[in-house]
């Protein structure tokens, strides 16, 4: 069946013919890609020898699946999408009509009913359906809740868009309260509510907010000043170790050490800034990356001070502004003072509000700074450094202040991180952390606080949520650990978002001053900066 591929053939070929051909190509490519990845695998046998395991069956399955998938996509999905005009050709976005078709009142009611029924039956699900089906039912419940929430958001989309910041801040402020109340109702006891809230407040709330804060701090360096910094985690580490060391050795309180840690980090920001002032773009990125690694290696190897990989533990907890403590043994333990039941959830909730406060401080300062000459100079620097110099802006100090300010917020986040963990070790400050924070900034849209917060929510919340997908174990067998696929999904999400919105969630820029009306500046005009 030797056919020469000519341009006319494409025109004449029916979708099925075309799909068949493309499926063959896709299969061939998949075979080439996966023959070593999936087809062969090195393993150890009983006598600890390295052996090669061949998995031709699995390979064949993957290749066939790829080919079939491509076939179905080209033969049916593409014509179907085209006939529905699903994707807007110009923007690549789903048109409004698609969303209205997806979010409908009957579906919404159904979702609510399902979610509610499954919530009520929660305790007896296992008994009713058996463990396997109960897992699926819980997943269905989660989907129904997400769908219901999404519908509400879609219905009020213009309102949400108009009041995004206010809504976001109040949602964040109410989050622990809602979680505790919901769980208290669910379990039927206040103590149960607090106990159950631990996971939601700590793993989701605090974790996400730490990344929001880091990303907002890095946003100053990358999003505003356009200086590509790949070693941001170094300042996080400086802040964490500053609090850990000074807190454990001198017993100083968090409230003194927080600004101190910020100052230390800012100092190191300037230290890093000086040698890299002349560098731009890729070169700057490489040097900052090296700086991050240097700090980590120092932390590992300077054992006398940092205790190396053995970590520093016993970091004092944050006190409630010195009035109440969160140590059960202390006389002014919060539960004793307020006469309530002992629970570790209080500390977590307190930490949640603390990091929320720090985040809001970061946002406030960033918003203020953008409207001040220094912030405008940062953005101008990102746009054109030569023009800046021709206007009498001292680019040296401008860059250094950007590094220092960004680093300071990294330091704040670091000292908070140390206080929350109770220990610090160099493993927390690997390059991957810098990369994740950078990814959040890029994904959110450089320079946009709201976009970055949403990106942090999606990225960190999403990867945390993957831990919840235990039912997948029933599908793929007990060896399957969804957490291990977090980074894969992280990467896939990044690729998709970047294809769909190359400038991040919020690609446009809010001007810092206006004469007549405030118009957002389209992302196609702003520059990313070259160093």
């Amino acid at each position: 069946m030797a056919v020469t591929v000519s341009p006319e053939r494409d025109v004449v070929a029916t979708p099925v013919q075309r799909a068949f051909r493309e499926a063959l190509y896709a299969g061939a490519i998949a075979l080439g890609l996966f023959v070593l990845f999936i087809g062969l695998r090195t393993d150890q046998n009983i006598s600890n020898e390295l052996i090669l395991v061949r998995r031709w069956g699995l390979l064949a399955l993957v290749v066939v699946l790829t080919a079939v998938g491509r076939f179905l996509y080209v033969a049916y999905a593409q014509p179907f999408a085209a006939s529905l005009k699903v994707a807007d050709v110009a923007t690549g976005l789903l048109p409004e009509s698609m969303a209205t078709r997806f979010f409908r009142l009957p579906y919404f009611i159904a979702a609510i009913v399902i979610a509610f029924a499954l919530l009520v039956l929660a305790g007896s699900l296992d008994g009713l359906l058996g463990p396997d089906l109960a897992g699926y039912a819980r997943f269905l419940r989660a989907l129904a809740i997400i769908y219901a929430v999404a519908s509400v958001m879609f219905y009020f989309r213009s309102f949400i868009h108009a009041h995004f910041s206010a809504l976001g801040v109040s949602a964040l402020a109410l989050y622990p309260v809602i979680v505790v109340l919901t769980l208290a109702l669910y379990t039927g006891s206040v103590a149960g509510g607090f106990q159950g809230s631990l996971k939601w407040v700590d793993n989701f709330g605090i974790q996400i907010l730490i990344y929001v804060m880091l990303a907002w701090g890095l946003n100053i360096v990358i999003g505003l000043a356009g200086l590509l910094d790949l070693g941001y985690v170094a300042f996080y580490a400086v802040g964490a170790y500053a609090y850990a060391l000074l807190g454990t050795h001198f017993g100083l309180s968090f409230w003194i050490l927080l600004p101190a840690a910020g100052c230390m980090a800012a100092f190191w920001g300037v230290m890093l800034g000086f040698p890299v002032l002349r560098l731009r773009g890729d070169y700057l990125a490489i040097v900052t990356l090296a700086f991050g690694e240097i700090i980590r290696l120092v932390l590992i190897n300077w054992r006398e001070v940092t205790n190396g990989s053995a970590r520093i533990s016993g970091i004092p907890k944050v006190s409630f502004f010195g009035l109440m403590s969160f140590n059960v043994s202390d006389p002014n333990y919060i539960a004793k003072v307020l006469n309530i039941a002992t629970s570790s959830a209080y500390y977590k909730i307190f930490l949640y509000y603390l990091i929320l406060g720090l985040c809001l401080l970061t946002a406030f300062v960033t918003i203020r700074l953008r409207r001040l000459p220094v912030g405008r100079a940062w953005e101008a620097l990102r746009e054109d450094e030569i023009a800046c110099r021709s206007l009498g802006i001292n680019t040296t100090t401008t860059k250094l202040t950007a590094f220092a300010t960004g680093a300071m917020f990294g330091g704040f986040a670091g000292s908070f991180f140390a206080a929350r963990q109770g220990f610090v070790s160099p493993e927390s400050f690997v390059f991957l952390e810098s990369a994740i924070v950078l990814a959040i900034v890029v994904l959110g849209g450089m320079g946009s606080l709201a976009g970055i917060a949403v990106a942090a929510l999606v990225m960190i919340g999403g990867t945390e949520a993957l831990r919840e997908l235990d039912f997948l174990k029933r599908v793929f067998g007990p060896d399957f650990t969804p957490e291990l696929y977090r980074m894969l999904l992280f990467g896939m999400a990044m690729v998709i978002v970047m294809l769909w919105k190359p400038r991040g969630f919020v690609g446009s820029r809010e001007p810092t001053a206006f004469l007549k009306e405030r118009k957002t500046v389209s992302g196609s005009f702003t520059k990313e900066g070259h160093g």
């Binding site: 101008a380 802006i393 001053a513 004469l515 005009f525």
Partner: protein, 396 residues
């Protein structure tokens, strides 16, 4: 009248400025002056070194040699070649625009003009600290800066688009915005690098108007290829070719200067030839004889001139290396021609007078032109005849 100009009339004095990039002499021993309240045009063929002169004045390049003095209205004097880049606009109040427009394209027009007022606002915001806490003094300064921005937007006829991104403007408007932005720094000297490049006639006329308006408060140094703009608005023209000054004077005198015409249009080979043979100047003929191409007959006069001219150029520059291809400088060819003519006094006196200003002029030529110089000076002709171009003559 230039001869009488006192030091405080001069806003900018460039003396013996040289800029070398490796072996390439982009500017060779250039001296000129710009007077306060005037538009001084710097013209020359492509690659003559005009932008390099600007880069030296505004601190983007550190000149290899020479002195650039700026006299401010308040009497203070700055040596620009010693100031760091960003302090030249900040302290010496010299602003500039760029040949390839450099706007902050992702910022609005208003923001572009506010960035230009950075130093002033920085002080008012107490180096950020007072501004961070919203002190009223900063709020007032910020309102004033917006007023100034509005003022220049109106002058540049851009106020309707104040809240649009600068990158969204048409080309001509971007040029005007860049000028407005430079003006927002409150300069005493404004350096414009080809502001009319790429403008249509209507935009060009609007630009002229804007420049004439700016001229009332600020002296302008202008690079321009568009002769109509130069002739219309400039008070004083300096012509560069291959990094050397070949002419300096008012627009009319420069326009008729054969060296300038030659630099722009090329010398008519036959004309040179006839002049040379007609004059029978011994020096030139001698040079012709020793020149490499002279042996091949007088057919190709451009290359025929090559040997002697390049020699004298090097000679005049005290042995510095010139990578200009031999015989490339059209003005130098005119020099050589004029040199031969200078022997005959009356008919060519005017031409010879201009020759004397040329840095590249051979020393012999300068000497020969001396008589003619005196002649035209007595006629009250200006800069062209003034010995300002002489090595020590730059200082008055």
């Amino acid at each position: 009248m230039n001869a009488q100009a006192s030091a405080d009339d001069l806003i900018l004095q460039v003396e013996h400025l040289s800029m070398k990039f490796g072996g390439l002499v982009a500017i060779g021993d250039l001296s000129f002056q710009a007077r306060r309240g005037e538009i001084t045009a710097l013209i020359g063929p492509n690659g003559a070194g005009k932008t390099t002169v600007f880069n030296c004045i505004t601190g983007f390049y550190k000149p290899t040699e020479g002195m650039i003095t700026l006299n401010k209205r308040d009497g203070s004097t700055y040596l620009l070649e010693r100031l760091p880049n960003h302090e030249i606009p900040a302290r010496a109040n010299v602003a500039r625009t760029f040949q390839n427009i450099r706007l902050f394209s992702g910022m609005t027009l208003l923001e572009n003009l506010l960035v230009a007022q950075h130093n002033k606002l920085m002080k008012a915001s107490g180096y950020t600290f007072l501004g961070l806490f919203g002190f009223p003094s900063y709020r007032q300064a910020s309102a004033e800066s917006i007023d100034l921005a509005r003022h220049w937007l109106e002058k540049a006829d851009l106020v309707d688009r104040a809240d649009d991104p600068a990158g969204d403007l048409p080309y001509g408007a971007q040029r005007r915005l860049e000028i407005a932005r430079a003006m927002c720094t409150g300069p005493e000297l404004l350096c414009l690098d080809e502001p009319a490049a790429g403008l249509n006639p209507r935009e060009s006329a609007a630009l002229n108007e804007l420049l004439m308006d700016i001229k009332n408060s600020t002296s302008i140094l202008l690079i321009e290829h568009d002769m109509s703009v130069v002739m219309q608005i400039s008070d004083h023209v300096v012509v560069l070719e291959y990094g050397r000054k070949i002419s300096d004077g008012n627009p009319q005198s420069v326009r008729t200067d054969p060296r300038v015409i030659a630099a722009y249009l090329g010398v008519d080979d036959e004309e040179v030839e006839t002049v040379l043979t007609e004059v029978g100047d011994e020096d030139v003929i001698e040079q012709l004889d020793t020149g490499p191409d002279a042996a091949h007959g007088p057919g190709n006069s451009a290359s025929m001139m090559a040997g002697p001219v390049s020699d004298t150029v090097e000679h005049a520059d005290e042995g510095e290396r010139v990578t200009v291809s031999k015989g490339a400088s059209k003005a130098a060819q005119v020099d050589a021609r004029s040199a031969s003519v200078a022997g005959k006094p009356a008919p060519v006196a005017k031409k010879a007078a201009k020759v004397s200003t040329a840095k590249a002029a051979p020393k012999k030529t300068a000497a020969k032109a001396a008589a003619a110089k005196a002649d035209s000076a007595s006629k009250g002709k200006q800069a062209a005849a003034k010995p300002a171009a002489g090595k020590r003559g730059g200082r008055k």
